[in-house]
Amino acid sequence: MQYVNAFWVGGLICAIAQVLIDKTKLTPARILVLFVVTGTVLGGLGLYDPLVRFAGAGASIPIVGFGNVLAQGVIKGVQEHGILGILTGGAEAAAGGITASIVFGFLAALIFKPKVKS
């Protein structure tokens, strides 16, 4: 059942990050970097795609999945364009996410004002 797997795998990835935040001196920013690089390496080794097939969004929505997209993209890029693909493949595959982040981020920042936490 895809939904159950998505829930517990996605939850587990977040839980691991939480343990790292609370138990080590790693800051959230460092953990995100660690996760995205881990995703890229696992993706390059072909180990992450099976997890995506098993857990669906539970593996693709966490930032680790973003690393996997980059790795898959660069492999496809090398297959199609040879040496140039090393530089174009990763960003090409991630282009949608990056552009969406920039555009939605820009619009949201234009429209909304930060509020004081209470």
Binding site: A29, I31, L32, S60, P62, I63, G96, A100
Partner: protein, 150 residues
Amino acid sequence: MQYNQQEYQKYLEKKSPNSPLLKNVLFAFVIGGAICTIGQAVTDFYQTIAGLEESTARTAASITMIFFGALLTGMDVYCKIGKYAGAGTLVPITGFANSIVSPAMEFKKEGLVLGLASKMFVIAGPVLVYGITASVGVGIIYYIIRFIGG
């Protein structure tokens, strides 16, 4: 002084309460899991109803989640969930959107170019720098293996 530096740091660590690990991990698990489940529902929607093929549906779902992450950040909701969820809202792609929108909003007052735009990636920038650099590394290795393998 009663303590030297090392002794004081040890003493301070003992006096400082730890984060409530069990509670934090539980919240991170449940909320992170819930966000991924919503992501799965969105993927399924794109696949079955919009008829996209699987990998395109996944990209579309990620973009949709980024949209909602940005929207909830703007509406002052994301940080309120994040207070409880911790890594549960940090690690999903919605957290990536949050880390882009929040500084952009915050520094809008310093101008649209040098404030909003230039501060947009102060938190998320490292993810792109190291993610893309790592992917180039993967590409080089893959290229060499292919070259040797013929």
